[in-house]
Symmetry: C2
Subunit: 160 residues, 2 copies
Amino acid sequence: MSPAADNSSAMDDGPLVEDFGQRIGRAMGWPPMAGRLAGVLMLSPAPMTLSELQATLGASKGSASEMTRLLIANGTVERVKVPGVRQAGYVWRDDAWSGCLQHQLHQTEQLLELARTARERGLGMPEAQQARLRDMYTYYDFMVGQLRRLLDEYQQLHAG
Amino acid sequence: MSPAADNSSAMDDGPLVEDFGQRIGRAMGWPPMAGRLAGVLMLSPAPMTLSELQATLGASKGSASEMTRLLIANGTVERVKVPGVRQAGYVWRDDAWSGCLQHQLHQTEQLLELARTARERGLGMPEAQQARLRDMYTYYDFMVGQLRRLLDEYQQLHAG
DNA sequence: AGGAAAGTTCAGTCAAGACTGAATATTCAT
DNA sequence: ATGAATATTCAGTCTTGACTGAACTTTCCT
């Protein structure tokens, strides 16, 4: 956090952070800046304030704020407040990856929902087409069930 | 295919196809047009030619061509050729969804690779940061393993 | 072989969406 | 309560990437 935050040890993770940014960001469907932010926070030894993040990323205040909120919403970052210190700190969560998995599950659930309505709307169609829609439903149904299981399993492993 | 392809039964799946397009396309990281194409082919009773697709989608020739190739590369669509007929037909594959899962696995493998190099590059860092990079590696390692398993399992179920 | 139909490529145009920054709202030490 | 520090919002700008269409290459019937 502000007073003691000497990030000298993190010097020149730049390229690494950029890679993270581009690739994880894209994989998660985030804007690039969110990925870079994730990279920075993942490698920061201490919580960072908004303005430190802004400076490190070379981003605007608005961007830093919005991307931070996005990562919080996705469960990878946590906001910590120290009483007596005005500005909040942001940290990479220990259970960040379980948050990612949860996110993936959620997305898949949306598609299952889509498949369900599609199957219903397809009831008047010839059998061949209905079969296609049924396949889709079956697939997403399978995936949702399995991802739920994976999430459980991962959380078990990670609790110990 | 051309001569017999009377798509009248498919009339006004339009909205459904649009939904598919927007949502599946996005989920898979495809351009919207690829998603719409997937929707059209999934609901088509017979193989469709490039120009039929172009007309149905209201797209350009170039777009129809490139999006078709993209779906083929992703394993959801197949190109069928009938000798004596010049133009090729395009069909939604029966094992399309297993192709999607394969794609997801492949993407995750890329991230595992990223995590692996990150972990190596982080060897000089303080323990706390190394732990973060190890977590990331552990996560993707877990996911790759599990997705491989899921792919197997899904293919089993779908063979019968 | 010849050439017309089919398919691909890619430079250019256009639209979606990421980022900025200044205006606005909120917070909290005093 | 007050106001200075902190954070959010959003209209406008700029970047990225999707789509078009015409020029080019390939295919394969005759």
